[in-house]
């Protein structure tokens, strides 16, 4: 136990002295998530606000032929402006991207409308251009509702209720709550937490085997009258502590970052208060032992610091895999999933963010299975540390 503590204290001091490594572990890891997140959220807010409020400028050719239609468009926040002279020029203007959408009202419009013949209106757009397509959709919707209004008036004039045109009325009931909606977007948060957790201990995990070997300090260490298990365990414990700190920092930085994100505008109120921060830490903490032992194990097979770094970047990404699969297949939390590390933590976290009751059986399975796998990997690490091949 004394040996373990000595190794632990030395590793902590050593790691703290290495400022650059420390910075990348404890600043890069925890901040990467919130920064990326803030960026994505702000972008999507900007876009969605775009759609509703922005006044759209729409070139219309032949405005004189349909003054009512033009004023209808204006009342729907579409500013009608003068377009190119001819239809040919209009097509050219859309093709080159000078305008996104152009509406052409032929001279025959008034006549057709008066004769109750479907009146022709042309809408020119490039459907391959997604940005332009959103504008085109808006114009199409406006034209469609204008058409509906005229239809209703015509029916009324003939003494028919416009309701005959609506045999079915669809009422949509959305049961999602603001917290629930946020889970879709915030679901990726759980990966950032795991990422930060692993980053926090990565350099120490490398140092334990590949680093010590490369520096030539492993052999003198192993020739001391100390059991190797204790050396290994001390190093793994130190790695765990750095991972825990990194995880806590990551949770806190998210907590702070979420205060500054106007998520309500997206109809989301994530349940991420101080109590959830603590609960999330507890749910994620069993993953620390697994992460530390897995990284140490992988690093012990490598020949050099560089090789270890390469392999450990793979380990950094590996926990996303189950999360990704479940997200794509949109699977609901099931008992079996709780046996899978990273996935179980992800699902439990999503439940918490959604403010749904967390199944305690699920928590128990997640914690115990993750800890069991972590303990197994630690045991394998200790076995490997006894090999003479460790010296490379």
């Amino acid at each position: 136990m004394r040996t373990l503590l000595t190794v632990f204290v030395k590793e902590v001091i050593d790691n703290f002295r290495d400022r650059r490594t420390l910075a990348s572990a404890l600043i890069m890891g925890p901040l990467f998530g919130p920064v990326l997140f803030a960026f994505v959220i702000n972008l999507s807010i900007e876009r969605s606000l775009d759609d509703v409020d922005r006044t759209m400028r729409l070139p219309v050719i032949g405005q004189d032929h349909a003054p009512n239609l033009v004023s209808y468009l204006r009342s729907h926040n579409i500013e009608v402006i003068d377009g190119p002279e001819s239809p040919e020029e209009a097509v050219a203007a859309v093709t080159t991207g000078e305008h996104d959408v152009i509406v052409i009202i032929p001279a025959s419009y008034g006549e057709q409308l008066a004769g109750a013949i479907p009146a022709r209106v042309e809408l020119i757009s490039d459907q391959a251009n997604t940005q332009a397509d959103r504008d085109a959709r808006r114009v199409r919707m406006a034209l469609h509702s204008y058409s509906q209004e005229i239809a209703a008036i015509r029916l009324l004039a003939r003494g028919v209720s416009p309701q005959v045109l609506r045999p079915i009325n669809v009422d949509e009931v959305d049961v999602s709550t603001p917290s629930g909606r946020s889970a879709i977007l915030l679901g990726m948060m759980s990966y950032f937490f795991i990422f930060a957790l692993l980053m926090g201990g990565m350099y120490l995990a490398i140092d334990t085997t590949a680093g010590e070997r490369e520096r030539g300090s492993l052999e003198p260490l192993l020739s001391l009258p100390v059991t190797r298990d204790q050396l290994m365990l001390g190093k793994i414990v130190a790695t765990c502590v750095f991972m825990a700190v990194s995880l806590m920092l990551s949770l806190c930085s998210f907590y702070v970052a979420l205060r500054f994100m106007p998520l309500e505008q997206l109809g989301m109120t994530p349940n991420f208060g101080p109590d959830v921060v603590i609960a999330a830490f507890l749910v994620l903490s069993p993953f620390i032992l697994l992460g530390a032992s897995l990284m140490t194990l992988v690093a012990s097979f490598t020949k050099s610091y560089k090789e270890a770094q390469t392999w450990l970047s793979v380990v950094l990404v590996a926990p996303t895999l189950p999360i990704l699969i479940v997200s794509i297949l949109t699977l609901r939390p099931k008992l079996e999933f709780m046996f899978v590390p990273s996935l179980s933590q992800h699902l439990l976290l999503v439940d918490m963010i959604k403010n749904e009751p967390v199944n305690l059986t699920h928590v128990a399975i997640s914690v115990s299975s993750t800890l069991a796998i972590g303990a197994l990997l630690t045991w394998i690490c200790a076995r490997l540390y006894r090999r003479e091949g460790l010296l490379g």
Binding site: D14, P220, L222, S223, T227, L391
Partner: protein, 242 residues
């Protein structure tokens, strides 16, 4: 007292050490001499228990290096070839870390470190981080570190490698001081003059086998060469490569 009897070690097809036997008594300096790749390091690594012999036996003060490796390590101070320090710790911290690992109690760690700092005359740079130390400074700190538990047997693998004249000289004085303390000193080298100047006994190894195990004078006599370098070459030639 180090006793080696008939140890062999192979790495795949390479037979690094074959049936090596010798003794290194207390209060004497024993030199393991041989060209590069002769099997010196492998032999020493078996002695400080990071490698296991395929055959044969080795004991440190009667403790078997395989069966009772922890007790054997307790009695050895080892300076492996190219031993590295922790660059972010000071020399003193490097030594103190090993002292704590070896079970030196908290209140005695500082005194023990101070003791070694004085013994190895590293006071000038003891409180600097070891990053950027010269090879000589590094070797001295590593040697101090390996002596924290006051071992009766000291194993040094090519300690003079990469040292300049002054550093080599002070290392030599240090080794003699260890001998005067009554310790058993076993060190390897590929430089004949160095070994001849220091050692009471010389074990010449070539191709993983012991060529000659004798004093410097004994080696001169048995090879029939007055010049030690010639004697060294002659001894190596006596072991035919197979």
């Amino acid at each position: 007292m180090i006793r080696v009897s008939g140890i062999s070690k192979s790495f795949g097809d390479v037979r690094a050490v074959r049936n090596v036997s010798f003794e290194a008594p207390d209060g004497k300096i024993t030199g393991l001499l041989g060209p590069n790749g002769a099997g010196k390091s492998t032999t020493l690594r078996i002695l400080y228990t990071v490698l296991r012999p395929d055959e044969g036996q080795a004991t440190i003060d009667g403790r078997d290096v395989v069966e009772d490796s922890l007790a054997a390590r307790q009695r050895i101070g080892a300076l492996p070839h190219g031993a590295g320090l922790y660059p972010h710790l000071t020399a003193r911290e490097n030594i103190a870390y090993y002292a704590r690992l070896c079970g030196v109690t908290k209140d005695r760690v500082d005194a023990r470190v101070e003791n070694l700092v004085n013994l190895l005359e590293i006071g000038d740079f003891a409180d600097r981080k070891t990053k950027g130390f010269s090879q000589g400074q590094r070797t001295k700190v590593a040697l101090a570190r390996s002596l924290v538990h006051d071992p009766k047997n000291v194993i040094l693998d090519e300690p003079s490698n990469g040292l300049d004249v002054m550093a080599t000289r002070s290392l030599r004085e240090l080794i003699l001081r260890l001998k005067d303390d009554g310790r058993c000193v076993l060190f390897s080298s590929h430089v004949m003059q160095e070994v001849a100047a220091l050692c009471d006994d010389i074990v010449i190894i070539a191709n993983g086998r012991v060529a000659i195990d004798d004093s410097a004078d004994g080696i001169r006599k048995r090879t029939g060469c007055e010049d030690l370098e010639d004697a060294f070459v002659r001894a190596i030639e006596m072991v035919e490569p197979t």
